[in-house]
C-alpha cells in the first residue's frame, strides 16, 4: 500500500514536472527573425536605420508579451542584422546561411541589385518539387525597384509603389501649378533604383500628366564634377528638374547649379533622397525639393516609432519605417498561422509564414492601412514632403486632401 502510494505520488510529481518544463520551454522559445542589408559601404546608413527599426519593433513586441505560439506558449522575437554589403553575392550567401539554420523569415535586403538576383535563387513556385530553389520567406523592406516580388512566391515586399507615387505627384503638380509644362531629369546611370525610377516610372508618368519630357543628363554614383550636366540642364531650360539620384550626387548637382546660377521652377527628388543625408549635405541648395514618401512622423504611432528607433541610433524614413512595419506584420501572420518556433518545425513554420503573407489583403502601417497585391507587393499610403529650413515638412497629403 505504502509502496503503491509512493509510486503514484512519484508519477504525479514527474507528470507535473514534465508539464512545467513544456510550458517553460514554450515561454522561452525564440522566434528568430533576421534582417539583412547594407551595413557597410556608402549606403551603410540604410542598414543602420533598418536594424534600429527592427530592434525597436522587436523590443516593443517582446515587452507586450511576445508572439503567441500555436501550442499556447509565447515566443520572444530574436533579431540579428547581417551585412550583405549591397552586393548580390554576399546577399545570396547571407540568405543561404540563414536558410540553413533556425531562422524563420528574413527582412531585407537594402539594395535592388541584391534583391533581384536573390529572389532568383528562391523556389519560383511554392510546392514545386522539381524546383530546388531555396524555400525561405523573404519580406523586403527597402529594395524598391518595381515588380521584383513576382520573381518568386517566397518573396514579399512592403515597399511603396513609386509608379503610383510619381504618377499621382505629377498629376497634382499639373493641377496645382498649371504653368509648369516641361521636365528634365538628372539620372544616376549606374544605380538600378535611380535608373529604373526615371526611365520606367517618371519618364512614363510625366507625359501622361501633360508634362513635356525634354531629356536627361546622366552621371555616375561616384561622380564629383557636374559642370557639364548642369550646362545641359541650363540649355534645356525646363520648368521642373527631376533628380533621380541619391543624396551624394543630388547634392553635388544642386551645388553646381548654385555655382552656375541655374534655377528651375520646381525640383523633384528620388524617394531615397528624402532622408537626413540630403539635409546634412545640402540643406540650403535642396530647399524646396519635393519628394513623395511613404513615411513622415505625422501620426502618434509614427512619432512613437521614430522615437523608439532613435534609441537604437537609427532614424525612421520611408525605408526603415517599412522594416518596423514588417516585424509587426510578421508577428500577426505567425500568430494567425500557428507557428510553433521549435527546432523540428522550422521548415513547416516557414511555409506557414509564406502562406500567411500570401493570404494577406491588407496590413497596418505607420501612416494607415496598406493593401497587398496578388503579386506580393504593397500599395502603401503616401504623402509629399519638401525640404524647408533644413527639415522635411509635409507639403501635401493626397489621402486627406
Amino acid at each position: 500500500m505504502r509502496k503503491a502510494a509512493l509510486l503514484l505520488s512519484s508519477a504525479l510529481i514527474a507528470a507535473a514536472g514534465i508539464a512545467a518544463a513544456a510550458t517553460a520551454a514554450a515561454e522561452d522559445r525564440a522566434v528568430i527573425v533576421k534582417g539583412f542589408g547594407a551595413k557597410s559601404g556608402v549606403v551603410r546608413s540604410f542598414g543602420i536605420n533598418s536594424e534600429a527599426a527592427m530592434r525597436a519593433a522587436a523590443e516593443l513586441i517582446n515587452s507586450q508579451g511576445g508572439v503567441k505560439l500555436a501550442d499556447g506558449g509565447t515566443g520572444k522575437i530574436e533579431v540579428e542584422f547581417l551585412d550583405d554589403r549591397c552586393t548580390a553575392e554576399e546577399g545570396i550567401s547571407v540568405v543561404r546561411r540563414m536558410a540553413s539554420g533556425p531562422t524563420l523569415v528574413a527582412i531585407g535586403p537594402t539594395c535592388s541589385n541584391v534583391a533581384e538576383p536573390l529572389f532568383g535563387v528562391l523556389q519560383k513556385k511554392a510546392g514545386d518539387a522539381t524546383d530546388s530553389g531555396l524555400q525561405f520567406p523573404i519580406f523586403t523592406d527597402v529594395a524598391i525597384k518595381g515588380g521584383l516580388a513576382k520573381i518568386s512566391e517566397w518573396a514579399f515586399r512592403n515597399v511603396p509603389s513609386e509608379s503610383e507615387m510619381y504618377t499621382s505627384l505629377f498629376r497634382w503638380v499639373k493641377q496645382t501649378k498649371p504653368e509648369l509644362n516641361s521636365i528634365f531629369a538628372g539620372v544616376e546611370e549606374n544605380f538600378a533604383h535611380s535608373r529604373a525610377t526615371w526611365y520606367a516610372v517618371m519618364k512614363e508618368a510625366a507625359p501622361k500628366a501633360g508634362l513635356e519630357v525634354k531629356g536627361e543628363a546622366k552621371w555616375l554614383l561616384e561622380d564629383t564634377n557636374f559642370a557639364q550636366q548642369v550646362r545641359e540642364i541650363k540649355a534645356a531650360s525646363p520648368d521642373i528638374l527631376a533628380i533621380a539620384a541619391h543624396p551624394f550626387t543630388t547634392c553635388g548637382v544642386l551645388k553646381e547649379m548654385r555655382r552656375q546660377g541655374v534655377k528651375v521652377k520646381m525640383l523633384i527628388g528620388l524617394t531615397s533622397s528624402s532622408s537626413l543625408e540630403t539635409l546634412q549635405g545640402c540643406a540650403k541648395e535642396a530647399d524646396g525639393i519635393v519628394i513623395p514618401t511613404s513615411f513622415a512622423p505625422v501620426t502618434q504611432t509614427a512619432e512613437a516609432a521614430a522615437a523608439q528607433a532613435a534609441k537604437y541610433n537609427g532614424s525612421l524614413d520611408l525605408h526603415s519605417a517599412a522594416t518596423y512595419e514588417n516585424v509587426f506584420i510578421l508577428k500577426k501572420v505567425m500568430e494567425e498561422q500557428g507557428v510553433l518556433a521549435k527546432p523540428d518545425t522550422v521548415q513547416a513554420d516557414r511555409e506557414k509564414i509564406r502562406k500567411g503573407l500570401a493570404a494577406l489583403k491588407e496590413t497596418d502601417g505607420l501612416l494607415g492601412k496598406s493593401k497587398r497585391t496578388d503579386d506580393r507587393e504593397a500599395v502603401k499610403p503616401y504623402l509629399y514632403v519638401h525640404a524647408k529650413d533644413g527639415k522635411w515638412v509635409v507639403l501635401h497629403n493626397p489621402v486627406t486632401n
Binding site: 557597410s40 561616384e222 561622380d223 564634377n225 559642370a227 557639364q228 547634392c251
Partner: protein
Amino acid sequence: MGFVDYMQAVIDGLLFGTTYSLIGIGFTLVFGVMQKINMSYAAGSLAGAYCGLVGPQLLGLPPWSVFPLSIAASGLIGYLIYLTCFRFIPLASPLATLMSTVGMLLLLDEIIVHSTAGMPQNYPAIYDGDPIVLGDFILRADLMGVFLVCVVAMAMLLALLYRTRLGMATRAMAQQPVAAQLCGMRLQAVNGLTFVIAGLLGGVAGAMIGAAVGMLSPLIAGPITVKGLIVTVIGGLGSIPGAIVAGLMVGAAENLFQALRNVTERDIYVMLLLFVFLVLRPGGLFSGARGRD
C-alpha cells in the same frame, strides 16, 4: 553640343585635373624612392581631408581651419602608412607592400564609412562667390582657386626637391640608394620623410577635391585611386613633371570624352588612353634614363 561646350569641358577638366596631378605626384614620389606603389595613397589623402573636418565640426574652429588640419593630418597618416606598410615589411618580396597597402586602403575606407555612417560631409569651398564669365565661357572661381593652390603646392615640392638638402637626399636615395647610404644618408629617415611629404601633398589634394566637390564621401576614394594610378603610369613612374602633365591631360580628356560620348562611356575611353600609352610608350610621357642628375 558645340565647340564652346567642348572647350568648356576641357577647361573644367584642366582645372580639376590639378588634383589628379597632385595624387599622381604622391604615387610617383613614393615609387621613385622605394620602387613600390603605395595603393593606399589616395585613401590616406581623403582620410586626412576627413580629419580636417574635426576642427570646425567638433572643436568649433573657423571653417578655413579645415585646410591646414587636413594637410597636417594627411602628413601624419602618410607616415603611419610608411610604418605599417613599408618599414617592417620585407621589401624584397614583390607582392608584400602591394598587399599591405591594398589592405590599408580597405581599412581606411571602412574607418571612414564607419565613422560617418557613409553620410556625405559638407566641405567648405576655397571661394564661394560667383563664377567668372569670359564671353561664352564660365570659369568657376573656386576651381581657379583649387588650380592655384595645387600649382603652388607643386612648385613648393619642386623647390623642396631641387633646392634643399632634404630634396637632394631624397633624389640621391631614389637614384643610388647604396651610394647614398655610404655617404651617410639614413635610409629609413629619408623614406619616412618622403612619405610625410607625399602625405602633405596628398592632404592638399584631398582638401582641394573636397573644396571643389563641396562634399566628402567614401565613394570618392576608389575613383581617385584609379585616376592617380593612371596619371602615374601615363606620366612615367618616378617622373614628377610627367605626373603634372598627365594629371592635366587625364582631367581634360575625361571631361572631353564625357562631352563627346556620354558618362557611361567616359571611363572606357580613359582606360583606352592608358592602354595606348602602355602599348606605344610604356615608360610614360617623361620616361627618362635612370641614373644620376
